[in-house]
C-alpha cells in the first residue's frame, strides 16, 4: 500500500518535471530540472530494489550530465530560441511517436511484476550460484564483472570510445583555431 503511494507520488512528480522542462524557456532552469528528473528516476529505481542502477543514475544523470549541460550552455546561449516554424508538424510527430510507444507498453509485463522474461531466464541461476561460484555478497558485481565479464569489457570499450570521440571533436577544433590564430 505504502509502496503504491510512493510510486504514485514519484511518477506524478516525474511527469510534472517533464512538463515543466517543456514549458520553460530559460535553459539554466531546464538543466536543473533535468537533474531533478534524474534524481526522481533514481528514487524509483530504489523502490524497485535496483540500488546499483539508482546509484549510477544519481551520479551520472544528476551529477555529471548537469555539469556537462551547464558547460554546453556556457558555450551557447542561456535562453531558448523562439521557434520560427509552425508547431503543428512537430506536434503530430511527437503525438504519433508517443502513441506508438504507449501501444508498445501494452504488451509489457506489469510494473514490478516478478514473472518477466528478464527474471525467468538466467537471473535465478546467477542468484543461486553466486554464493558458491564467486562468494561475494553483492550479486550485481558478480554478474557484472564475472558472469557477464565480456559485456562489461564491451561497456568499458563504449565509454572509452565515447571519451575519445568527444576529445577528437572538441580539442581538435581548439587546436585548429590556435594554429589559424598563429598564422594570422
Amino acid at each position: 500500500m505504502i509502496e503504491l503511494f510512493v510510486n504514485f507520488v514519484l511518477f506524478t512528480m516525474l511527469v510534472l518535471t517533464a512538463l515543466a522542462i517543456v514549458r520553460i524557456d530559460r535553459l539554466f532552469a531546464v538543466v536543473m530540472l533535468s537533474g531533478v528528473f534524474s534524481l526522481l528516476s533514481a528514487l524509483l529505481f530504489v523502490t524497485l530494489d535496483a540500488v546499483d542502477v539508482a546509484f549510477t543514475e544519481a551520479a551520472v544523470g544528476a551529477g555529471i550530465s548537469t555539469v556537462l549541460m551547464l558547460s554546453t550552455i556556457a558555450l551557447t546561449k542561456p535562453v531558448q530560441k523562439k521557434p520560427r516554424h509552425n508547431a503543428l508538424v512537430p506536434l503530430i510527430v511527437v503525438g504519433v511517436t508517443g502513441a506508438t510507444l504507449i501501444y508498445g507498453t501494452l504488451d509489457m509485463p506489469a510494473f514490478g511484476a516478478k514473472d518477466t522474461p528478464a527474471q525467468n531466464h538466467v537471473a535465478a541461476l546467477y542468484l543461486e550460484r553466486t554464493p558458491t561460484d564467486i562468494d561475494v555478497p553483492n550479486a550485481v558485481t558478480g554478474i557484472l564483472a564475472s558472469y557477464r565479464g565480456f559485456d562489461t569489457l564491451g561497456e568499458t570499450g563504449v565509454v572509452f570510445t565515447a571519451g575519445i570521440g568527444v576529445l577528437l571533436l572538441l580539442s581538435g577544433l581548439a587546436r585548429r583555431r590556435e594554429e589559424e590564430g598563429e598564422e594570422q
Binding site: 562468494d135 553483492n138 564483472a145 572538441l170
Partner: protein
C-alpha cells in the same frame, strides 16, 4: 580569473577529500555493497570537476594534468583486457578469474573482480574528467553575470 565566494571555496576544499574517499570506498567495497567501477569512476571525476568549477580550470589542471587524464582513458581498458590475456596465458579461458588462484577458485574470482572493477573505474574517471576539460577548455560565450 574567477574568484568565487569564500564559503563556496571553503566548503569545496572540505568536500573534495570526502568525495575522493567515498569514491575509493564505492570502488573497493563494490563486492559487498552497491557500487563498483562505473559509479566510483564518476564520483572520483566529480571531485575534480567540482574543484575545477570553483577554482578554475587552470588550478585543477595543475593537480590533475590533462596528459595523465588522457592516459587513464586508455589505461583502464588495458587493465581490463589485460586481465583476460593474463588468465589466457595461465591456461584458462579469457576473463576466467579462477586462473589467479587455482586452488581456491572463489579467491581468484575476488582478485579478478577487484582488478577488473579497478580498470573500469580508471577509464570512467579519465573519460569524465577529459570530457569536462574538453568542454570547459573552450572560451565561454556567456559571462558570469548573464546567468
Amino acid at each position: 580569473m574567477i574568484q568565487h565566494h569564500l564559503i563556496l571555496r571553503v566548503v569545496t576544499k572540505l568536500l573534495v577529500g570526502t568525495i575522493i574517499v567515498f569514491a575509493l570506498y564505492v570502488q573497493f567495497h563494490g563486492d559487498f555493497s552497491p557500487g563498483g567501477g562505473f559509479q566510483a569512476g564518476v564520483i572520483m571525476a566529480v571531485a575534480f570537476i567540482i574543484y575545477g568549477i570553483v577554482f578554475g580550470l587552470e588550478k585543477v589542471k595543475q593537480v590533475f594534468p590533462a596528459w595523465i587524464v588522457h592516459k587513464m582513458v586508455a589505461l583502464g581498458v588495458l587493465i581490463y583486457a589485460g586481465t583476460g590475456v593474463v588468465s589466457m596465458f595461465l591456461g584458462y579461458d579469457y576473463l576466467d578469474y579462477g586462473a589467479f588462484s587455482p586452488h581456491h577458485p572463489t579467491h581468484g574470482q575476488h582478485w579478478g573482480l577487484l582488478i577488473v572493477e579497478f580498470g573500469v573505474g580508471v577509464t570512467v574517471t579519465g573519460v569524465m574528467v577529459a570530457i569536462y576539460y574538453a568542454f570547459a577548455g573552450r572560451p565561454p560565450a556567456i559571462s558570469d553575470e548573464d546567468w
